[in-house]
């Protein structure tokens, strides 16, 4: 099978905090990392390849330093990697990102049986890029898969919906986005780490892709972030209920919580 994985380099948001005094975002030296559930996407792709043979190709769109996450994918077992990079791609929202990724898929032959993405990134968590890419390519998708099986003939995917799970047979070609529950990603192998040093990162620029200039980058992005403000932690309510009968105390608390929509 020909398998593609889309990965994103993200800021490790778990290290960041809002300074309660200045309201500024404190990066605490947060590193750039491979988006965590993209590892689940890679793992699913590598397992599928070990069942069916074929290749695992990995792409990312980003600045040159985003090549680091491609090398990480190589150390896990990816066969070849492409960095989609160009100043013209900068400032893309999910639509422009997906448009560019879909153009790259076409450039690479548009003959992938399966495409895996992460469910969502940890820095802007829209979870939109996967389904957008699928729709641009006119193929089926299942978002936030919690299970993926290849039974030799069919792909069977499970998604969580509320309390329940839906088990779906997926018509290929298709795209699947990986939730963190999909699998346990492998660690890089020694072989993989060594291969990292010999792997060439192929580059694709806007000149290599069949893209319309007004559909990429900032220009091709319908959503504009007009402003960013720190989330001020909700003020302590400081509601004390004392010296009441338990029933009165219960009623007072319930009413107070209904006011702030907890109930």
């Amino acid at each position: 099978m020909k398998i593609l994985v889309c990965v994103k380099q993200v800021v490790d948001t778990s290290k960041m905090e809002v300074d309660p005094n200045t309201g500024r975002l404190n990066r605490n030296g947060a590193n750039s990392i491979l988006n965590p559930c993209d590892r689940n996407a890679l793992e699913a792709a590598l397992r599928l390849k070990s069942q069916t043979g074929g290749t695992v190709t990995v792409i990312t769109m980003g600045p040159p330093q985003a090549g680091a996450v491609l090398l990480e994918a190589v150390s896990m077992g990816a066969d070849d990697v492409y960095l989609i990079t160009d100043r013209a791609f900068g400032g893309a929202d999910t639509l422009a990102t997906s448009y560019t990724l879909a153009a790259a898929v076409r450039k690479l032959g548009n003959d992938f049986d399966l495409i895996f993405c992460g469910e969502e990134s940890i820095d802007s968590n829209t979870a939109q890029v996967g389904p957008e890419v699928a729709a641009m390519l006119g193929i089926a998708d299942v978002s936030a898969a919690v299970d993926f099986q290849w039974d030799g003939e069919k792909a069977v995917v499970t998604r969580q919906v509320g309390e329940g799970r839906e088990v779906l047979e997926l018509k290929l070609p298709a795209l699947v986005t990986a939730s963190p529950a999909l699998n346990t990603p492998r660690y890089p192998s020694v072989q993989g780490i060594l291969r990292k040093y010999e792997t060439e990162i192929h580059q694709l620029t806007s000149a290599d892709l069949d893209v319309e200039p007004d559909r990429i980058g900032l220009k091709g992005s319908p959503t504009q972030v007009r402003g960013i403000r720190p989330v001020v932690p909700p003020k302590k309510e400081n509601l004390k209920i004392e010296d009441q009968s338990p029933a009165d105390a219960a009623a007072q608390l319930a009413d107070a919580l209904a006011k702030v929509h907890v109930i």
């Binding site: 940890i122 969580q160 919906v161 839906e166 088990v167």
Partner: protein, 334 residues
């Protein structure tokens, strides 16, 4: 750019198991508020199989027009098929804005529609407003691990689209006497348009509600003295759509698995709301709690947790818990 042809605030109904989910009402209530500033009509799209009779619910919640796309092929959510029928309708109708529920279905369908129609989508919106000068909808959402709020607009593209989590907005009072129009839209679909074939629906066991992902945690400690009382915590958690957490002594008693223990030797949790029932507030427990709102109920008003809580209630749990559950049910049923 002239967007004068683009009219109407649309809501795409969330249908699960043949029923319209409550979030649809929340979205319609919010759409009415937006429409009050923009002067648009509120229109809804209802997609499913044998679903037409539900259209009146949407009118009662605030829709002026309901488009019904009804076909046996639409009995279960399928991204590709739903995109085809909804995308077709939207291209023809040209809405000014569309609200989707940020559920597993809506979070898949909205971006597919964005690709089909060529427009932007703001994900997981928690606040909505209309910019007075431009008439643009301002979609606000948390980002960067919840550390910042981003205000997002779509000045150069229509429709303006966003997904909204269930429970974000108030459910409006349903008004059965409201009048509205129901419009049947033929579904131009064949088997080939489906991307998936549903094999099975598995109800998930309750334990699969990991506390680290819960928005509401109902935690209990040694102030709860019997297993019967402990069962009430589960009842409350179910009512609130939350998960049960525990202090270490409770897990040592075996009333709760270790996977529910919060604190230094358990899990760190960051829910929106944390209830501590009969928990003293030991540092080894509280270091694992990073909640927006902390609610404590304890018979000792000097217990350390009472200092840290936003809502501190001094009461005996034996009587408090049943009374509180009854009151929550009463508020729910209203």
């Amino acid at each position: 750019m002239d967007f004068s042809d683009y009219k109407g605030i649309y809501v795409v109904a969330e249908v699960r198991g043949g029923n319209v989910e409550k979030v649809t009402g929340e979205l319609l209530g919010e759409a009415r508020k937006l429409a009050a500033s923009t002067g648009d009509p509120v229109e809804a799209v209802l997609i499913g199989s044998g679903i037409r009779e539900k259209a009146s619910e949407l009118i009662a919640w605030g829709a002026d027009i309901v488009y019904v796309i009804d076909s046996p092929l639409l009995a279960h959510y399928d991204g590709k098929a739903y995109e085809k029928v909804l995308g077709g309708l939207l291209k023809e109708k040209k809405p000014s804005a569309i609200l989707f529920a940020a559920t597993p279905y809506g979070r898949d369908l909205a971006p597919r529609i964005a690709s089909a129609v060529v427009c932007g989508v703001t994900a997981d919106v928690t606040e909505l407003s209309v910019d007075e000068k431009t008439g643009l909808i301002v979609w606000s959402r948390p980002a960067m691990g919840g550390n910042i709020m981003a205000d997002i607009i779509s000045p150069l593209y229509r429709p303006q689209v966003g997904t909204v989590r269930p429970g974000t907005f108030d459910l409006p009072e349903a008004d059965a006497s409201r009048e509205g129009r129901i419009v049947d839209v033929p579904a131009d679909l064949t088997e080939v348009d489906l991307g998936t074939i549903l094999k099975e629906i598995i109800p998930a066991p309750k334990e699969e509600n990991p506390i680290e992902e819960a928005r509401i945690i109902v935690a209990g400690g040694r102030g709860i003295h019997s297993e019967e009382e402990w069962a009430m915590l589960h009842e409350l958690a179910d009512l609130l759509g939350g998960s049960v957490g525990a202090s270490r002594p409770i897990c040592e008693l075996g009333w709760e698995p270790h996977s529910s223990q919060i604190g230094q030797t358990g899990k760190s949790v960051a829910p929106h709301i944390y209830f501590g029932f009969g928990i003293s507030g030991a540092m080894q427990h509280m270091c694992g709690v990073k909640a927006d709102i902390v609610i404590a109920v304890n018979r000792d008003k000097k217990a350390p947790i009472m200092e840290m809580a936003d809502y501190a209630v001094a009461a005996d749990l034996k009587e408090f818990l049943p009374a509180f559950i009854a009151k929550v049910k009463e508020l729910r049923d209203r």
